[in-house]
Amino acid sequence: MTDSIAVHCENLIKRYNDTQAVNQISLDVKTGEILALLGPSGCGKTTTLRLIAGFEKPDSGRIIIGERVVADSITFVPPEKRGIGMVFQDHALFPHLTVFDNVAFGLRGKTKTEIRSIVGEMLHMVGLLSFSKRYPHELSGGERQRVALARALAPKPVLVLMDEPFSSLDADLRTEVREHVRRILKTIQATVVFVTHDQEEALYMGDRLAVLQKGHLEQIGTPEEIFHESTTRFVAEFIGDSDFLKGKIVKGGIQTEIGLIKQLVDLPLATQVEIALRPDDIDFQIDGSGNSLIIERFFRGAFNLYRLRLDSGQILHAFTEHTRILPVGARVQAHVNTDHSLNIFSA
C-alpha cells in the first residue's frame, strides 16, 4: 500500500430542500485502501458516496479523483467519465442481459477476444465462470452480489464504490460473501469506498473507518483508533454499544458510583465527566452489600451479557464467560476491569 491519495474530498456540502444531507465533509482515501463510511440511516454516508460517484452534484466543495478535479464550483464530470466502478445495494444487474453480457457491459472499445478474456477472468475470480449464460433472475442473492462486483471491476476502475453491498443478503450468507469480497479487493489492490450502517461489517471490511452523523464527519481512523480512542460521545456510543457513567475528576483519577477509576485526565479537578464503558470493561462479583442488581441476563453462546442497574438507576452492561450463570435479582459489586484507557467526555 502506497500512501498516495486516490480520492480527496474537501468541504463537501449537499442540501435537499431543508435538510443538510452532507455538511462540510472532508476526507481522503489512500490508494489501495478500503474506507468504510459508517453511520446510522440518514447520516449522509450514501449521499457522500453518490457525490464521489457523480450521481449527485455538491452544492459546494471539491472532489479530486487521482489527479483530476471531478467536482468543484466550475467543474462537474458526469459519472460515466469518472472511471469508477459501483456496486449497488440491490446489485442493479441488468435483467435483460446474461451474466456474461452484464460483466461485459462496461468494456467499451475492446475487441471480442479481449472482452471474452476479461469477462472470463472476472467470472473466474468471483467463482462464477460456469454461470455466464444465465440470467440474473436465475441466480441466488450471493451470486448476484458477485456478478455485480465482477461487472464493476471489469473495466479496471481507479475507484470502487459500494453502497451497502451486503445488506440485501441473508445474515449467514453475508459473512461468507463479505470474506470473499474482501479477499478479491485486496488481491487486486483496489481503492474502495464502501457504505454500511453495520459497525461489525465496517470493522471487518475497512482498513479505515469514517463515522458520520447528521451530515458531519465525526471521526476517521483505523478500526482500533475508532474503537479505543473515540473522539466524540456519538462515536463511542455507536461503536461497541457504550454505556455512559457520570464521574468527577479527583486527585489520582475519576470518582464514580462504582469506585475510583485510576486514569489520569488532563482536566481541572471537580470537572463533571462521562466515561464510555463497553460490556468488556465491566466485571462484577456476587456481594450482598454490592452497588448494583442483576436485572437481566442474555445468553449469547460464547458469553453471557448481563444488564446491571446501579442504585442511582444507571444501567451498565457486562460480558462474562458463558459458564458463569448468576440469578436475576442478585446483588453484585460492579467495577471497572480493563487494561486500556477509557474514553472520557466532559459532561
Binding site: G54, F55, E56, A92, F94, H96, F105, H137
Partner: protein, 518 residues
C-alpha cells in the same frame, strides 16, 4: 358447493361460446362455394387493409407514447404533472365520437374547408376519408394504452439500473437505448397489443372514415344482405384474434423474467432537458391539442350550434334513460354471472378451472360486430323468439364484457385471504353462510368498481347495440351514429357530450387515486 359452481359456470361457458361456435360450424359446413369467398380479392384486400392500419396505428402510437412517458416521468419538462394528467385523457372519447368530430371538421364541406373557403376561396381539401383519417383518429384515441403501460413500467424501473450503466461509462442517451428501452420492451409490447386489438375491434372510426377493415366489411356485407360473406369475414376475424391472444400470453409469460430487484429506493434524479425543453414542450402541446383540446372544442362548437338552431332533440331524456337502464341491467346481470365463475377459478385452482379461465377470457378481444352477427345467425335459425329482443342484446353484452367484470371481481377476490373464509368455517358456518357473511361484504368494493366499469363500457358500445337492439330502442350511442351517418353533426353533439362526461368519471377517479398514492 363446487358442483353447483361448476354447473353454473358451464351454463355461462355455453352461453358465451354457443353463438361463436355456431357461426364457425356453419361457415365450415357451408360447402366449397362459400369457401371460394376466402379466395376473393376482396378478402385479401380486407386483410391487408386491417393489418396495414393496425401496424401503422401501433407504430405511430408508440412514437407518440414512449417519448411522452419518458418526458413526464424522468425529465424536467415544464408543467410535467399537468401533461401527465392530460395525455391519457383521450381514452374517454369513444371511437365513433372521435371519428364524428374529425370528420365534421376536416371532411369535405367540413368546418376547416368552410373556414378556408371564406378566407382564401379554398374549395377542396386533401381527402380525409380512408386510410389517413382512420389512422390519424385511431392513433390519437389509442396511444394512451401504450402511454399508460410504458409509464407504469418506467416509474417502477429501479433507477440504480440506469446509474449502473452510467457508472460503467455510458451517457444519458446510450443508457436510454441500451438499458431503459430494452427494460421497457414488455410494457411496450403489452401496450402495443392493446392498441392493435383496439384497431382490430374498432367499428366507429373505420365506419365513419369509410375504410373497409374487417369490422366495416362485415357490417357492410350484413346490411347489404350478403350474410355468408359477413360470416366468412367474421370467421377470419376470430382466427386473427386467436393469433393475437396467443402472442399476448407469450408476452405475458416472458415479462415475468424482467421483474427482479427490490424496487426503487429513491426517486431518480430528473434529467435536465436543456435546450431540448422547447421542442419537448411543443411536442406535448401538439399531441394534447390534437387528441384532446381540438375534439372537446369541436364538441362544444357543435353543441352550441345545435342549441342555437333548436336541434337538440327533445327525446334526449328518453334516449339517455334507455342507455342508462340497459347499461345498469347489463352490468348487474354480467356481474352476477361473473361471481360464481371467479370464485371457482380463484378458490379451486386446478387444470380444469384454468381452462375455464382461459375460455371465459377468450372473447374479450372479439369485435362487437362479430358477436352481434353470430347472435343474429343463431337467433334467426334457432331462436326466432329471441331475435331483436332485449335479452338477446344482454347476451351480446355478456359475451363482450364478462371478461372485464371477471377481471374486477378476480382482483378483489385474490386480495381476500382464503384463511378468512376458513376461519368462518372453523367457527361453524356453512359455506353458503360464509359467502354471504364474510366473502360478499369483503368483495363489495371490487363489485361496485367492476359494475361501474361494465356499466360505462356498455353505455359506449355501438356495433352490437346497433345490430341487436329491439326496433325503436335508441341509445345515446346509436343516436350519435344515426345523426352522424346523415351528417347532422349538431344533433350528435348532446348525446356525445353526455357519453364523454360519463366515461370521464372513472378516469377522474383513477387520476385522483394515483395522486393519493404519490
Amino acid at each position: 358447493m363446487t358442483p353447483i359452481l361448476w354447473g353454473f359456470s358451464i351454463l355461462v361457458v355455453i352461453a358465451i361460446l354457443l353463438p361463436i361456435t355456431y357461426l364457425i360450424i356453419r361457415v365450415m359446413g357451408a360447402g366449397s362455394d362459400a369457401w371460394q369467398g376466402l379466395l376473393r380479392p376482396q378478402m385479401f384486400e380486407t386483410i391487408a387493409r386491417t393489418a396495414w392500419l393496425a401496424i401503422a396505428v401501433t407504430t405511430v402510437s408508440a412514437f407518440i407514447a414512449v417519448p411522452i412517458a419518458w418526458l413526464t416521468v424522468r425529465t424536467d419538462l415544464p408543467f410535467r404533472k399537468m401533461w401527465a394528467i392530460l395525455t391519457p385523457l383521450p381514452l374517454v372519447i369513444p371511437s365513433y365520437v372521435g371519428g364524428y368530430l374529425f370528420a365534421s371538421a376536416f371532411g369535405p364541406r367540413g368546418l376547416l374547408q368552410q373556414l378556408l373557403e371564406t378566407l382564401f376561396g379554398v374549395t377542396r381539401l386533401p381527402e380525409i376519408y380512408g386510410f389517413p383519417g382512420a389512422m390519424l383518429v385511431l392513433t390519437l384515441l389509442s396511444y394512451p394504452y401504450i402511454l399508460l403501460s410504458t409509464r407504469a413500467a418506467l416509474s417502477k424501473l429501479d433507477p440504480s439500473l440506469e446509474e449502473a450503466s452510467r457508472s460503467l461509462g455510458y451517457g444519458n442517451w446510450s443508457t436510454f437505448w441500451r438499458v431503459t428501452l430494452p427494460l421497457l420492451r414488455p410494457a411496450l409490447g403489452a401496450g402495443s397489443l392493446l392498441v392493435a386489438l383496439y384497431v382490430l375491434r374498432d367499428f366507429g372510426v373505420v365506419a365513419i372514415m369509410r375504410y373497409s377493415t374487417f369490422t366495416r366489411a362485415i357490417y357492410v356485407s350484413y346490411t347489404s344482405f350478403d350474410r355468408s360473406q359477413a360470416a366468412l369475414l367474421s370467421l377470419v376475424v376470430v382466427l386473427v384474434t386467436l393469433v393475437f391472444l396467443f402472442i399476448e400470453t407469450r408476452t405475458l409469460s416472458r415479462t415475468k423474467y424482467f421483474q427482479i430487484g427490490t424496487g426503487q429506493a429513491r426517486p431518480p434524479a430528473l434529467i435536465q432537458l436543456g435546450y431540448w425543453r422547447l421542442p419537448a414542450l411543443l411536442f406535448c402541446v401538439t399531441v394534447v391539442f390534437a387528441s384532446l383540446i381540438l375534439p372537446s372544442g369541436l364538441l362544444i362548437y357543435w353543441l352550441i350550434r345545435g342549441l342555437r338552431a333548436g336541434e337538440v332533440i327533445p327525446s334526449l331524456g328518453l334516449i339517455a334513460w334507455n342507455s342508462i337502464s340497459a347499461s345498469a341491467i347489463g352490468a348487474i346481470v354480467i356481474l352476477l354471472a361473473a361471481i360464481p365463475v371467479v370464485i371457482l377459478i380463484v378458490r379451486r385452482p386446478n387444470k380444469a378451472t384454468l381452462l375455464l379461465h382461459r375460455i371465459t377470457y377468450s372473447t374479450f378481444a372479439l369485435p362487437g360486430v362479430v358477436i352481434a352477427l353470430a347472435l343474429v345467425f343463431f337467433g334467426a335459425n334457432h331462436a326466432p323468439w329471441l331475435y331483436q329482443t332485449f335479452p338477446m342484446l344482454l347476451l351480446a353484452y355478456g359475451i363482450l364484457f364478462l371478461p372485464q367484470a371477471m377481471g374486477a371481481v378476480r382482483t378483489t377476490l385474490l386480495q381476500i385471504s382464503p384463511n378468512v373464509e376458513e376461519a368462518a368455517r372453523s367457527l361453524g358456518r356453512h359455506p353458503v353462510q360464509v359467502f354471504f357473511s364474510v366473502t360478499l361484504p369483503l368483495l363489495k368494493s371490487g363489485l361496485i368498481a367492476g359494475a361501474s366499469l361494465v356499466f360505462l363500457t356498455i353505455m359506449k358500445e355501438l356495433p352490437a347495440t346497433l345490430i341487436l337492439a329491439p326496433i325503436g330502442f335508441k341509445t345515446l350511442a346509436t343516436s350519435i351514429w344515426s345523426a352522424v351517418s346523415e351528417a347532422f353533426f349538431a344533433q350528435a353533439a348532446a348525446p356525445a357530450l353526455l357519453i364523454v362526461l360519463m366515461s370521464s368519471l372513472p378516469m377522474a377517479y383513477f387520476i385522483l387515486n394515483e395522486k393519493n398514492v404519490e
